[in-house]
Each structure stands twice: as C-alpha cells, then as structure tokens.
Amino acid sequence: MLDDTGAAIAIEGLHHSYGSNAVLRGLDLTVRRGEIYALLGGNGAGKSTTLSALLGFLAPEAGTVRVCGIDPVSDPRAARAAMAYVPENVSLYEHLSARENIGYFLALAEAKRGEDAIENSLSAVGLAPEAWDKRMSGFSKGMRQKVAIALALARDVPVLLLDEPTSGLDPRAVLEFNRLLDAAREREVAVLMVTHDIVSAVDIADRIGFLGQGRIEEEREASATGPRFDLNALHDRYAYAGAAA
C-alpha cells in the first residue's frame, strides 16, 4: 500500500486554478503513516482544493497526487477505499440515529463492519451510549461532529482527511478529539487535517505546514524535547500568512 518513500499521501508540484485564479502553484506535500499533519492557511489559500485533489474530485493541471500510491483520478474507487474524509460542519441524516447513520454510510462505502466496530468507534469518540440510538435531529454541533469522526474511524482506513475537525467543538471535546488522533497515530494512520485552529494543531500535529501563494511556504516539525512547537512564533507566522492571502 505504501510507495517507496513510505508516504501515505504524496503530492508533488500540484497546480490547479479556477478560471484565471491559480490557487495551487506547485504544491509539494507528503504525510507518512503514523504521522499527523496540520495544514494551516488563510481563507482561500487552497486548503479545500488540496483535499479535493486528494479525493479525486479534480484532476491536477500539473503535478502528481498519490494516496497510498494510488492516483485518485485514474482509480478513484481504490483511492477512496483507502481514505476516510470528514467534511467541515457536516450534518448526517437527521431522521436516523447515530448508529443507523454510521451503518448506512458504511454500507454506502461498501465497507463490511460488524455492529461492534460501530459501537467501538462511537465510544471512542466519546459519545454517550444513551445517545447512540437517538435521532440525530436533537444532537448538538459537537455531537454531530463526533458522529462524523466516528464514521471515519469505523471505516478503519490508512488515511484520514479532516476538514476543520475541531470547529464547533468545546475545549473539552477538542481534548478528546486529540486523544483520538493519538490513538490513530498508534494504529499507523496517516492524518491530514486542514484547520484554522492553531492551538489544536500545536497540541497534536507532528508537522505543521503553512499554505500560502499556492504552495507550502513553511513547514515546522514538532521537537522531540520540550514544548513541541513555539506557539507564539507560529501564531505570528499564521497571522502574517493570513494577511498575505
């Protein structure tokens, strides 16, 4: 499943534009298995476009995109079977329960998982068992997000794409979410999260990349000793990049 470099996600020289607006101009990005990569960038920096390229939703104008060595454009089925994607602010079907939703989406993904896999993932995201069989119409934003993440976990795939996963979560839920990602790292999952939330990224990411001018302008790696990142320096960098965009 892995290519020679051991990268689960490998993007090289990716170009993409909407009309005359060139969003990605030679993006290079790799995420290894067991690594959590936080992609930071201002509005319109191309974060969603990067995810779309990985999901095979758009064909690159130049460059290559590989997910576990698979080209998502030429073989979208195989690529998507290796990825789980959690969109921003998704609300699953309101008139189904959390359990039914996950069962239903797993069926759509043609993923054969038992009831216990669903229950394990629901308990892993910290959703109280009494909520599992309630219709999601009564769920809070945080609970919805948990179910969406539980779905991604239940898929049990090597690559996880998260779009603003912590938006709408309270600090406690963010902590729980970070623990989940820790567990994923243990299981050798490659995680690419696109986020505004610099605090969360600092807490959990192994690498943080700044997206600007259509490529990774700067990349920092967590230090093995002491504080993993210098939050203040990152914040200044982020705010500057946002202003540039």
Binding site: P87, E88, L92, Y104, L108
Partner: protein, 461 residues
C-alpha cells in the same frame, strides 16, 4: 453489509423522512380514492342503464298495448316505439372516465330522422362537470408530478445544503443516485399503481389494458424524475429547484394545454353540427310542400327495391312520411361527414400535441385504451346509426307492403346490441412518451454526473 441491506437502509432513509412518507401516503390515499370514485361512477352508470332498461321494457310494452292488434298500423308503431341503445362503461373506464360524464351512454331512437335524434344530450349537471372528473388518470397526470417534486427536487441540493454531498462523493461505493432515484421511483409507482391493480381485479378489467396503463404511468413518472434530476442537478438550492419544478408543472399541465385547447377550438370550428340539424329540418319539412313523387324519387336513389310500391290513396301515408325522413338524413350526409371530421380533427390535433406534451400524451393513451374519449363516443354514434338503419329496414316491408303490425311483430323489432369496445393502443403517443422520457432521463443523468464532478471541485464556494 449485503446488497439487499443497502437497499433496505436506503428505504429506511426514505421513509424516515416525514415529508417523503407523507407524500407517498398521500399519493396512495388519493390513488385509492380516485379508483374508488371511478368504480362508484361506473357502478352508477351501470345502475342507470339497468334502471333505464327496465323502464324501456315497460314503455315498449305500453306502446305495444296501445298500437298492436290485427289492424295495427306499422306507421304508428314505428312512430311511438322508441328503441333503447346503451353504451355500458368499458372495463377500463373506472380508471379513466374521460368524457363519459358528459356524453350520453343511453339514447333512445325511433325510425324517424336519425340526425335529429343522434346529438341529443343526456342530463348532467354542468357545474359538477366543470372542474373535470376525479379519477385515477387525474391523480396520475396532475398529482403524481407534485409528489415527484416533493420527493425528488432536493436529491442533490439537499445533500449539498447539509454538507453531506462531499462526504457521499468521497465514499468508494457506487450507484448512490441510481439507487436513490430508483427507490423513490419504485415507491411512487407502487403507491400510485397498487390501487389501480386492485381496482382492475375488482372490475375484472383485462390485464393487458391495466398493464398499458401502468406502463404509461411508469413512463410519465420517469419523465418527472428525469426532470427532477435535470433541474435538481443544475440549480444550487432546494428552494429554487422546487420553484423551477413547480414552474415546469404549471407550464406543462396548466398553461400549455389550456393555450393549445384555445388554439384548437379556434382553428377547428364544429358548427357543422348545428348546420346539419337545421338542414335536416328544412328538408324534412319541405317534404310536406313538394310533390310526393319528388320525395319518393330521391328516396329510390338508395332504396330502389321499393320502387313501384309508392302509390297510395289520400293525403297521407306513413311510407311517404318515413321516406321523407330517410331523404332528410341522406341529404345531410356530407354535412354529417364534415361534422364528424371536425370532431376527429380536434381529437387528432390533441393527439399530436401529446407527442410533445407528456401530460397530454399520457391522457391520450389512457383514454384511448379505456375507450372513453371522443372516438369512443363517435363509435357509439356509429353503432346507433347502424342500428337505426336496421330499424328502418325492418319497418319498410310493413310500410310498403301495407302489412299489419301485430303484437308478434313488436317482439320482432330489432334490439340494439351493445357495441364491442373500440379501445386501442395509441402506439405513436406511447412511443413519443418513451422518447421524451428517455431524452429527459439521459439529460438528467448526464447533468447529474457532470454536476457531481463539478460540486466535488467547488462545493464549498
């Protein structure tokens, strides 16, 4: 999960939505109510025919009592003996009543001029007829599209508005839209079709006829789902998609048919009906003022077998009277043909319109197979005309040979035999409906898949 469980999961998803469930139940209830109303109307018409038949037997017996006898005059018998014709509802009429609420299905004729009798109306309440009948065909043509709109307008837009579209598209499985549309299509068709099938069994309707009706419904329904795909995939929000589909419905089922009807009524006048009645009256009454030989000469043109038997003494003889009426009918034959041609022309233009308007095409197919359109009525009139000709042939030997008309002869008067159904399969309309439906379906499927790939690219903009 197995292949069947994904279907059952989809079904659960469909039926858990209050709106979808309500729409399907409503369609089922309306379809059942329409079938029941249709059956009630048919039973009503059958009862009426039975009632009239009983009255007719009594009336004819009274006429026989008054006029039969050793000295019975065939002229009086023919004058007073009204004979009943009846057009019992065809077996499929319960689903598509068509014009049977307006057109007479019982008519009495006697051996006098046919053209003065053939166009008589039966009693019907015009205000009740005004809004049109409530039958299965109405539920199909008018109401089914609204249910399709309720179920289908937000297939794509609804997913996008809740942020699920990208998630759904990111999954490795396939056939999502095919499954969802197929399921909705099946559910709608079942809710609409089951009452028809039950009604068909209850009314002992021919299975092929019911099958044609179901096929037509399936095509019409597919047309609307195709439109839902086409519109739902091209517009951004559910609200605009719903508004656009309602717009299509209004234009296709309310505005264009009414406009077309106005145009047809304008371009094909049917005044010949009045003309021929007026002309027939003139000829019959002028007969009293012209020499009798003249009337007989015109009569002999088509009935030469009675030549030489026209002489009689005195001022009046029934044979001359009936010859005069026969001549009156024959003189307006061209007008009659023209009148009928104008009616057929209107029907034909409607059929042509049905080649491009699916609602009108569906209407044409349903009522033609049910034999409840104007052509059915014309066929009934034809059968009355044929019977009337036989009635005249029956009386002429008595009149021209001066035979007495006895009680036994009353029993010999030919009785009208119910015409056999003339319902037929309107192949051209059906094929046009198939082509229209396929076009919309293909366009819908194409725009759905194109749209899906586009929304992948820029869903969150």
């Amino acid at each position: 999960m197995s292949a069947s469980s994904i279907w059952s999961a989809e079904l659960r998803l469909l039926l858990r939505s209050g709106r979808n469930l309500l729409a399907l139940i409503l369609l089922f209830v309306l379809s059942s109510a329409a079938v029941l109303a249709g059956i009630a109307e048919i039973e009503n018409q059958r009862e009426t025919i039975a009632r009239v038949e009983a009255e007719q037997v009594r009336d004819l017996a009274a006429v026989a009592d008054a006029n039969a006898g050793p000295e019975g005059d065939p002229g009086y018998a023919a004058y007073y003996a009204f004979m009943l014709t009846q057009d019992p509802p065809p077996p499929l009429a319960f689903a598509a009543i068509g014009q049977r609420d307006l057109q007479p299905y019982v008519l009495r004729v006697r051996a006098l001029g046919l053209q003065a009798q053939l166009y008589d109306s039966e009693t019907y309440n015009p205000e009740l007829a005004l809004p049109g009948v409530f039958d299965w065909a109405f539920v199909l043509i008018y109401l089914l599209p609204l249910v399709v709109i309720a179920l289908g307008h937000d297939l794509v837009t609804g997913e996008r508005e809740t942020g699920r579209l990208r998630l759904l598209l990111s999954l490795p499985g396939s056939g999502l839209w095919r499954r969802r549309i197929g399921l909705r299509y099946g559910a709608v068709l079942a809710a609409l079709g089951l009452p028809l099938i039950v009604g068909g069994i209850v009314m002992a309707a021919p299975a092929t006829g019911i099958a044609v009706m179901l096929l037509t419904a399936a095509l019409y329904c597919a047309f609307w789902f195709g439109l839902a795909m086409l519109i739902g995939a091209s517009l951004r929000t559910s609200a605009t998609a719903a508004a656009a589909m309602m717009g299509c419905w209004i234009v296709l089922t309310l505005i264009l048919p009414t406009l077309a009807n106005a145009a047809i009524a304008r371009s094909v006048p049917v005044a010949k009906g009045i003309d021929l009645t007026l002309a027939q009256r003139e000829i019959v009454h002028r007969g009293w003022d012209v020499p009798k030989e003249q009337t007989f000469e015109r009569f002999f043109v088509n009935h030469s077998e009675w030549r030489g038997k026209e002489e009689f003494e005195g001022r009046f003889h029934w044979k001359w009277y009936y010859a005069m009426h026969q001549v009156g009918d024959e003189a307006v034959a061209a007008d009659v043909a023209e009148y009928r041609a104008s009616l057929s022309k209107r029907e034909d233009l409607t059929r042509k319109l049905g080649l491009i308007l699916p609602g009108v095409g569906t209407m044409t197919v349903l009522h033609r197979i049910a034999d409840t359109d104007i052509l059915g009525q014309l066929a009934y009139q034809d059968s009355i005309a044929a019977y009337h000709a036989g009635l005249r042939q029956f009386y002429y030997p008595y009149l021209f040979n001066d035979r007495m008309f006895t009680r036994g002869d009353f029993a010999q008067i030919p009785r009208y035999e119910t015409r056999s159904g003339t319902g037929s399969l309107e192949i051209a309309s059906l094929i046009a409906l198939i082509i229209l439906t396929m076009l919309v379906l293909v366009a819908g499927a194409l725009s759905l898949s194109r749209q899906a790939s586009q929304s992948r690219a820029k869903s969150q903009k």
